[in-house]
């Protein structure tokens, strides 16, 4: 690990000021479960850590009118085990408890989780070229070991998978974040937070260098109850997704009134499958319709010889998640 200075600001404004005025390579430190790991690997080499975990007002879990509010420092385990979230939004709870381990969920924060970096083994190993880590150096994954790499949203420079689950469930719920920077506050839909690799795969997201997430807003919705986050892995627990699906439904008798479908573990960003959603609305829902939605969700998938098995796996994951959500309606 490279040497760094460690600051513990007392307010978000103070943290932003340090971030904006540092001449070197500052990083915000919250749960540390991604950052400290990547610092040990020399992938991240900040010279200043701005430890925001002492800021008191970023730990709220509350409702404000029709909106659920989660402060940026709320731990994953707090929401996973929250009785109201479990009852009314099973998809949100499942997306959290099916991620990582309880120790990591007790450390990782909801703000940091959104910006979790890829698990691409070439990104994590500085011996290899990686356009995400060193722009212009090349991509070792495209012709390398890429069984876990993305099928959707890929580009010629990067096929790294966005590894998180929480953001996938959140985009299905049309959630947004509030951020703070020296220019003030702004709100960003989470569906617009992450960037596809394109020609700048080193930029994971649209936040400015001096901008921090302060809270997440989830519009309260009757869609939450008939919902699930289904995650398919090499082992049953404590692994990243080979394919996952966040599905929320609103039913009108046996017909679908509204549907939300988002995919995890298969794309370079949290992936909303709008065509698949549209195919369900207004029609009776059976297994054939659910499978058809899965097929639509994976239209345009770009595969490699190693990862093409995840297209049928992903289709089946979407189909099964739809039927689980329906049964909860």
């Amino acid at each position: 690990m490279q040497p760094f200075r460690h600051l513990t600001p007392a307010t978000a404004e103070e943290a932003i000021h340090s971030l904006a005025t540092s001449a070197g390579k500052p990083r915000l430190l919250a749960g540390g479960t991604t950052l400290i790991d990547l610092m040990k690997l020399q992938v991240e080499q900040p010279d200043l850590l701005i430890d925001i975990t002492r800021i008191p007002d970023l730990r709220e879990i509350r409702t404000e009118g029709d909106t659920l509010i989660f402060g940026a420092l709320v731990h994953m385990s707090d929401v996973a085990d929250h009785p109201v979230i479990k009852r009314d939004y099973p998809m949100l709870s499942e997306a959290l408890w099916r991620g990582a381990s309880q120790q990591l969920r007790n450390m990782a924060t909801l703000g940091g989780n959104l910006l979790q970096r890829t698990r691409c083994a070439y990104f994590r190993d500085t011996q290899f070229p990686c356009n995400k880590r060193v722009p212009g150096s090349g991509c070792a994954a495209i012709d390398g070991i890429n069984r876990g790499h993305a099928l959707l949203g890929t580009g010629s420079q990067c096929i790294a998978t966005y590894p998180g689950d929480w953001a996938v469930a959140l985009i299905a719920m049309d959630a947004s974040i509030d951020t703070l920077s020296p220019r003030g506050t702004r709100s960003i839909p989470i569906a617009e937070l992450h960037r596809r690799p394109g020609d700048s795969p080193h930029m994971d997201h649209v936040l400015a260098a001096d901008e921090m997430i302060v809270r997440t807003r989830v519009p309260a919705s009757p869609l939450g109850k008939a919902s699930t986050y289904l995650k398919i892995r090499d082992r049953e627990s404590y692994a990243f997704a080979l394919a996952s699906a966040a599905v929320a439904l609103s039913m009108d008798g046996d017909r679908v009134r509204d549907a939300r479908i988002a995919l995890g573990g298969v794309a370079t960003v949290p992936w909303r499958a709008r065509e698949a959603e549209r195919s369900l609305v207004g029609k009776p829902l059976d297994e054939a319709a659910a499978h058809h939605a899965g097929v639509l969700a994976f239209e345009g998938a770009q595969t490699t010889s190693e990862n093409r098995f995840r297209v049928p796996l992903g289709i089946n994951t979407v189909a099964q998640a739809i039927m689980i959500a329906k049964a909860r309606g």
Binding site: R5, D37, T53, S101, Q102, L104, S237
Partner: protein
């Protein structure tokens, strides 16, 4: 001729590192507990197993390395050092966390409990320790301190209601000997 004092390997290492046993250990130079201040050194006060330690640490010091190398608490193990194996599990502020991914500074102001801090004052084993013995829930033992710290928290959180739930909520602790069946049985017993 008097017999020289006997020490276990662990006591010897602990004594040397704390500078407590120069004669017995025959150490030529005594390491002191006071660190050499460096420009980068930062003052950190940790409360570990109810004892308060004032330390001067490199900002890079993880809680794991600090426990082992500065406080001579060797029960907490370093496995992968990347948050993947659970061997370094301790409790901070009453929650189980991975001490390898937590900077020591981040544990300041919170009670830290390690495997050395769970037995009764009279030395009696914690119920989870006893259950691990009863069920042979270990072979080599390297993962065991992390397993036990995780298991105590798993029960405390209310996530030990069934073998399936125990497996899910203990999945962050790997055991390469494969003592999982015993571990699940031990936690079921201790959760009663």
């Amino acid at each position: 001729m008097t017999e020289s004092p006997k020490f276990t390997r662990r006591e010897l290492i602990a004594g040397v590192s704390l500078g407590l046993l120069p004669a017995a250990a025959g150490a030529a130079e005594v390491q002191t507990t006071e660190p050499t201040p460096t420009p980068e050194g930062m003052s950190v006060t940790l409360q570990v197993n109810s004892q308060v330690h004032r330390l001067l640490l490199d900002p890079r010091a993880t809680l794991l390395d600090t426990l082992r190398e500065r406080l001579a608490l060797f029960g907490t193990k370093k496995g992968c050092d990347h948050g993947q194996c659970g061997a370094c599990t301790v409790h901070v502020g009453g929650r189980r966390v991975l001490s390898c991914l937590m900077l020591a500074k981040q544990a300041e102001g919170k009670a830290v409990t390690t495997i050395e801090g769970i037995a009764g004052e009279d030395g009696s084993l914690h119920a989870v320790q006893q259950a691990f013995l009863d069920h042979d829930a270990l072979q080599c033992g390297y993962c065991t301190p992390g397993q036990i710290m995780s298991a105590i928290a798993c029960i405390g959180e209310g996530h030990a209601g069934s073998p399936e739930e125990i497996r899910e909520y203990m999945s962050g602790n790997l055991c390469r000997c494969g003592a999982y069946a015993g571990i699940v049985a031990a936690i079921q017993q201790a959760a009663l």
